[in-house]
């Protein structure tokens, strides 16, 4: 899911999580209304946001133990594997972690119960290439190894090109383009050259373009 700042990506994600009530229309996730049934929906979604809001006073171990209580499908071995892979010290408080480490901690508690839907709201924003690689690796693993769905919102269109099967462009709260990535690229050729997603994005939602 791509779009300019303020396009409505985060708003849409908040609707998916049930954090906003639709003024018109309906929202259904797994066939359920996330506002009416937050337990039924949130227990099946993993979520990582750009604005990492993990409680700073918690230690990494405490965050893992606390989060585990909410998800019956929590996989201790997988959580520990991720913690070791991300080189996070369990005794460190969240507030003492770097931005990249906080993103990794958020990723652990979003992945360890193997959610049916993983929602990532600009998770790589402002992070170094190594952390971005970890996040993309987690996305690819979730899709490829376990066949689950990932909604990935990002400004970094080269990352989107690496992992997306389906791309949706949003502008001013409206979907301006939504199709499989392959179809989008095939339908945007100039003189036989396939445009990059960056170029397609600018052409679709850049200055002077009407929705």
């Amino acid at each position: 899911m791509v779009g300019a700042n303020g396009a409505g990506k985060t708003t849409l994600i908040k609707h998916i999580l049930g954090l906003l009530r639709a003024e018109s229309g309906t929202v259904r996730v797994f066939g359920r209304d996330p506002v009416a049934d937050p337990v039924g929906v949130l227990s099946r979604i993993g979520y990582v946001s750009e604005e990492n809001d993990l409680p700073g006073w918690m230690r990494v171990d405490e965050l893992i133990r606390y989060s585990r209580a909410f998800y019956p499908g929590w996989d201790d071995a997988y959580a520990e594997e991720l913690r070791r892979a991300f080189a996070l010290d369990g005794a460190t408080r969240i507030r003492n972690l770097s931005k990249g480490q906080k993103a990794r901690a958020g990723l652990i508690v979003a992945l360890a119960y193997r959610p049916e839907l993983l929602v990532l709201d600009e998770p790589s924003s402002g992070l170094d290439p190594i952390v971005r690689r970890d996040i993309l690796g987690a996305v690819i693993r979730t899709i490829a190894d376990e066949g689950r769905t990932v909604i990935f919102s990002s400004h970094l269109l080269d990352e989107v090109e690496q992992v997306a099967d389906h791309v949706t462009m949003i502008s001013n709260g409206t979907i301006v383009l939504s199709a499989p990535l392959h179809d989008i690229k095939e339908s945007h050729r100039v003189g036989g050259r396939v445009l990059s997603l960056d170029e397609i994005f600018v052409a679709r939602v850049g200055p002077g373009q009407s929705v």
Partner: protein, 529 residues
């Protein structure tokens, strides 16, 4: 802003303008009450009204100033890191200015508080009220609180211990000095060095915190500091959420009470020769946990986006908060119930309390006196919990204007209720009129409460926030508690003293219902805006 001093002053004014406005209103009320009421022959200097009109607002404002000028309202008091806001470290100011200006503003505010209360408050005629040294004592206690809370510490929680012990030490020094009945000048000499010394400590603390120098003794205390407080596994999501609430919010109230108690109990030594004031101080101490709970609930009951994403119902999230607040209230009262008897014995004022209890035994008989004592203790603990939970719906609504308006309203009540109560109690005709209308007034509030509760129950049911069974269980539990309170009141106060219907009204109004029931509704509205 034309200077750093004005910029820093602007921060305090902007962030706390409503509280400061309420304080100004209180002083205006005091200033109006004194000249208007006293010449009319009304005695406003009795111990009871003195406590309501002067001691409680003075203590409350002292605590409020401690919190705002040490930046204690916006930080983790137990953390190793300095409580000085990190955002201010990037200002183009020296560490001396960063430490000095808040200290100057705080000291000035404390001195104005004392002097205004000294001039405007109506003091008991049998108490010689000092002019200046209490102002300097208050400023010194604030300055040391600032210095010690801005200091980075090598271990978590050490800040609270060091601050409490040092403030208690200063109080003890003052109390010992007062034993020798010193002059005002001597007291000023004793207290004068505190401000400059506290300033140098504060400047060192800010400079150290500014360069990120946080000492770390955790290697030596490795096991304790690194050990997590979370159990290895939580038996349920509800248990995990209760732990979360306790760890994040629950410890604030006991910590604040622990910081304030030494100051309050030290007054026992100052006024030990005046039994009436000793009783008022005891009353003030006993009212401290519920009073502090008002502020804790308003500022700490908020719900973060992290919490709203927990896969729990709004009712379960509220239930976790209710359980954690109960633990918080019990911990705060444990401190009061241990510290107060020790202070009473140490100051030699325990006889005052024992005399009062003997009078109750003589008037009511031993069984009823014991029942009254237990009822009073339970009622105080319950009222603390009630203060913590009855504002939850405001904090959980996520509306900042509602939070600030509620704090302003509470402070306004403190300024308005004492003079109105005094007016009612002191005027025979007004008292008679109010007393004859009192059952109707109570009946109106009972009707209002039950009607609102009914409306909330309908909304909870319609929005499926609470199941039918949970609603019925809640209603039955509330009824049972009201009946128990009513039964106890009927036994303690026989029909000849107070009518039973009056006691029924009191029981219905005393047991919280509406605001607790409104909390899940508010959270639901905040969670899905």
């Amino acid at each position: 802003m034309h200077s750093p001093a004005l910029a820093i002053a602007g921060q305090f004014r902007q962030r706390h303008r409503w509280g400061l406005t309420a304080l100004a209103c209180y002083f205006v009320v005091l200033a109006v009450v004194r000249p208007l009421v006293l010449p009319g022959g009304v005695h406003f200097d009795g111990p009871q009204t003195f406590a309501l009109g002067v001691v409680i607002p003075l203590t409350a404002t002292f605590m409020y100033f401690l919190a705002i000028f040490s930046f204690g309202l916006s930080g983790d008091v137990a953390a190793r890191q300095s409580l000085y806001p990190a955002r201010m470290f990037t200002l183009p100011l020296t560490s001396s200015a960063l430490a000095g200006w808040p200290m100057i503003f705080g000291s000035a505010a404390m001195m104005v508080l004392w002097l205004a209360t000294r001039v405007l408050g109506v003091w008991p005629s049998d108490v010689a009220v000092p002019v200046l040294w209490p102002a300097l004592l208050a400023a010194s206690l604030l300055a040391w609180t600032q210095a010690l809370t801005w200091m980075p510490y090598p271990l978590r929680g050490l800040r609270v211990i060091v601050t409490v012990l040092w403030l208690a030490t200063i109080d003890a020094i003052v109390m010992v000095a007062l034993n020798y009945k010193p002059s005002e000048a001597v007291m000023l000499l004793i207290l004068a060095p505190h401000l400059p010394i506290a300033y140098f400590v504060a400047r060192y603390a800010v400079a150290r915190a500014r360069r990120g120098d946080v000492p770390d003794w955790r290697v030596g205390f490795g096991r304790a500091e690194h050990s997590t407080t979370a159990p290895r596994t939580f038996s349920s999501a509800a248990r995990a959420q209760v732990w979360f609430e306790w760890r994040h919010y629950g410890r604030s109230l006991p910590a604040l009470v622990a910081m304030v108690l030494p100051f309050e109990l030290s007054l026992l030594f100052v006024f030990r020769e005046t039994p009436a004031i000793v009783m008022e101080i005891i009353v003030a101490v006993l009212l401290t946990p519920p009073f502090m709970a008002m502020f804790v609930a308003a500022t700490r009951g908020s719900v973060t986006s992290f919490t709203t994403r927990r896969p729990m119902t709004a009712a379960s999230l509220v239930a976790a908060k209710l359980q954690a607040t109960l633990s918080s209230a019990l911990a705060a009262w444990l401190l009061v119930l241990i510290a107060t008897p020790v202070a009473l014995m140490w100051s030699g004022t325990s006889a005052v309390l024992l005399d009062a209890m003997h009078r109750v035994v003589e008037a009511a008989g031993t069984p009823r006196a014991i029942a009254i004592l237990w009822f009073a203790v339970v009622a105080l603990v319950a009222s603390t919990w009630k203060q913590l939970v009855q504002s939850l719906f405001i904090a959980m609504s996520g509306r900042e204007w509602l939070v600030k308006a509620s704090v302003l309203f509470a402070l306004s009540l403190l300024g308005i209720v004492p003079p109105v109560a005094h007016w009612v109690l002191s005027d025979h005709h007004v008292r008679a009129a109010v007393w004859s209308a009192f059952p109707w007034i109570l009946a109106f509030f009972v009707l209002l409460k039950t009607a609102t509760a009914g409306w909330i129950a309908v909304r909870l049911h319609a929005k499926r926030i609470l199941s039918d069974r949970a609603l019925i269980e809640f209603a039955v539990a509330w009824d049972a508690i009201v009946l128990a309170v009513y039964g106890l009141l009927v036994w303690v106060f026989p029909n000849v003293i107070v009518r039973h219907y009056f006691l029924a009204f009191v029981a219905i109004l005393a047991v919280p219902l509406v605001r607790i029931a409104a909390a899940p509704l508010a959270l639901e509205a905040n969670r899905h805006r």
